[in-house]
Assembly symmetry: C2
């Protein structure tokens, strides 16, 4: 590989002059510049990042730690959407800032994080982004030896800058849409209890109902997310069974994520209940592969992963640009849109103001 000395010799100038042509940081005569450029082209010269960063003490690298890649075959992890979208958002921002993103994967094993951090340190990354697979408290000790870091999709109680989804607001807005469509009996198939998203979204769900003057009926709320477990379909089946043997069955079903909604579609139809004619269904995540392809297309709330990644990357770059910049003192919430599609319509009620399940046929 050609070096700056080779170029200098060929162009008949000093290495320093070649450096000046490269960086344009000092005047170089037109003639010299052309000679140097010609030599660079002829030799296929590309400057060495290692040599540069050694002298400048600036690597231009940003490290990102994720489990997205190795987790990808459990693509529907608890919260539903692969955190890869976060990486996408990060990538866009970092790349347009002329820095290079170094992505490392935990391979699903948190005990490997220290080794990844060490690799980042060897490369003298200027900042680190830690991306969690779903919204939760940080579950790994992340000692970065003074390197600036930003958490994405997780948070700690040490005040580390963090960017998280606005789960409460998202479910609130989505539920309001369901209410606005005229529904009063709204069931909710939640994600696993104990998850941050479950708690926050329930809060948003209840808030929207309360504002609409609809009393909260515990019989309409069930946790059903069991990804990977063979019993999941049975559980959803039984849960729906309970709902539809109530005196006043639900006219709309909120699902903890789009994947659950996909399962619900299948089971409802198996039981001869038409979506959306007899029951409306909404999801969460806006996992477009699902929400756009399901028939009918799914109304859902966007989990703004890409925007979160972009926000986190921008935050990190800002912190790096100004060493005195104050870190935000609370996690930054990023909100998503409600995506209206055809699975949500006005309820179809009979004269008793109860869902009309006539014409139902088990197929």
């Amino acid at each position: 590989m050609a070096t700056i000395y080779d170029v200098a010799k060929r162009a008949g100038v000093s290495p320093k002059t070649v450096s000046r042509v490269l960086n344009g940081d000092a005047p170089v005569s037109q003639k010299t510049r052309e000679a140097v450029s010609a030599a660079m082209t002829a030799l296929g010269y590309v400057p060495s990042h290692a040599a540069r960063s050694m002298k400048s003490h600036r690597s231009g690298l940003i490290g990102l730690i994720t489990g997205a890649i190795s987790n990808a075959d459990e693509v529907a992890a608890p919260a539903g959407l692969p955190e890869l979208f976060i990486v996408q958002g990060v990538q866009h921002v970092i790349e347009s800032s002329r820095k290079t993103l170094l992505i490392s994967d935990t391979g699903g094993r948190l005990d490997r994080v220290p080794a990844l951090v060490r690799t980042f340190q060897e490369h003298r990354v200027e900042g680190i982004l830690y991306v969690s697979d779903f919204h939760k408290p940080l579950d790994v000790s992340l000692d970065c030896q003074g390197i600036r870091k930003v958490l994405v999709n997780c948070f700690d109680d040490a005040g580390t800058p963090a960017v998280i989804p606005d789960d409460e607001g998202g479910q609130y807005a989505l539920t309001k849409s369901v209410v606005a469509a005229g529904h009063k009996r709204i069931a909710y198939l939640t994600l696993a209890p104990g998850m941050e998203a479950t708690r926050l979204r329930m809060k948003g769900f209840c808030k929207a109902l309360a504002e609409a003057g609809i009393s909260h009926d515990p019989a309409l709320v069930m946790a059903t997310d069991l990804y990977g477990s063979p019993g999941e379909h049975q559980l959803i089946w039984d849960t729906l069974d309970k709902f539809f043997t109530l005196d006043e069955p639900p006219t709309a079903i909120c699902c903890g994520n789009d994947r659950l909604a996909m399962a619900v579609y299948g089971i409802l139809r198996k039981r001869g209940i038409a979506v959306p004619e007899q029951v409306s269904v909404v999801g969460y995540d806006d996992h477009r592969l699902i929400s756009e392809t399901l028939y009918p297309a799914l109304t859902t709330a966007e989990l703004p992963y890409s925007a979160m990644g972009a926000r986190a990357a921008r935050l990190l770059l800002d912190l790096l640009a100004d060493p005195l910049a104050r870190e935000p003192d609370a996690p930054i919430l990023v909100s998503g849109q409600v995506r209206q599609r055809s699975s949500l319509v006005a309820p179809n009620l009979d004269q008793n103001n109860v869902i009309s399940l006539k014409g139902r046929t088990e197929i």
Copy 2:
């Protein structure tokens, strides 16, 4: 950041001795080793990758170019499965070889590839993997200036080493399973014409039928993949309509990918046709988010992206380890499994040996 000189001074030895402790490449007395280790710990010393690679001329970096990350919101690109799974397979192999993977994303713009290659060159990557979003001829000029490269999910006619999926074999095996279940009238909703996968899988499909003595009926083959187009559902609807008004309707439907199968499920049920009781459905890709969650679970052929990534990474490492290693002279085919799930059962025929569509109710 502490340097090897700081450590040396603190331990009262020369930098070279510290280097020896770090690399263990020459004998160091027990006492010295301990003093040096203590100093390293006290100073939080981490060696500089830049300085090391400069001297050794070995960066330990492998570059990977993909559109997977920025493409992620078009997660169901033509061939169906996000090529991210390829990256996952690569990551596993590279990481266990003590090298570091540098991932760059095209942002969907092929004209940015040269810039990415240049960045890789600056970092002196030892090899480059180019990952295509679906199986096709290489569609970008990839001038790596002598850096070893391996193509994944694509191929060129210049003999560049490549790893691609065995589309023909996959569809052949899958179709054989459908035949083995007893089906003789098998419809095929193909991917877009012109795609490598479409051509090869059709070949496998026909081969399996021919071996079973089933004549190929063109009326049962239609291209329906229109991802992102609002007319897709209508097209599938109309296509299914044609199938089921034939004198001998199909008893099984092969779909070009799992996403199409998901759409077909919805439409069939809307039309009161039960899966799998009246019609069996199979997909392609084994996109587990879909195939495991659909109700009933989907029989499908695995598109072995992860294995392809691993294979390509291993090939690249082998080529790097032995500069004289001969490149394979044809693309390496990687085969996937057939995943048997509940959407495929024996056909339900009436006394005329025709599919029984009794009990059908439009819901």
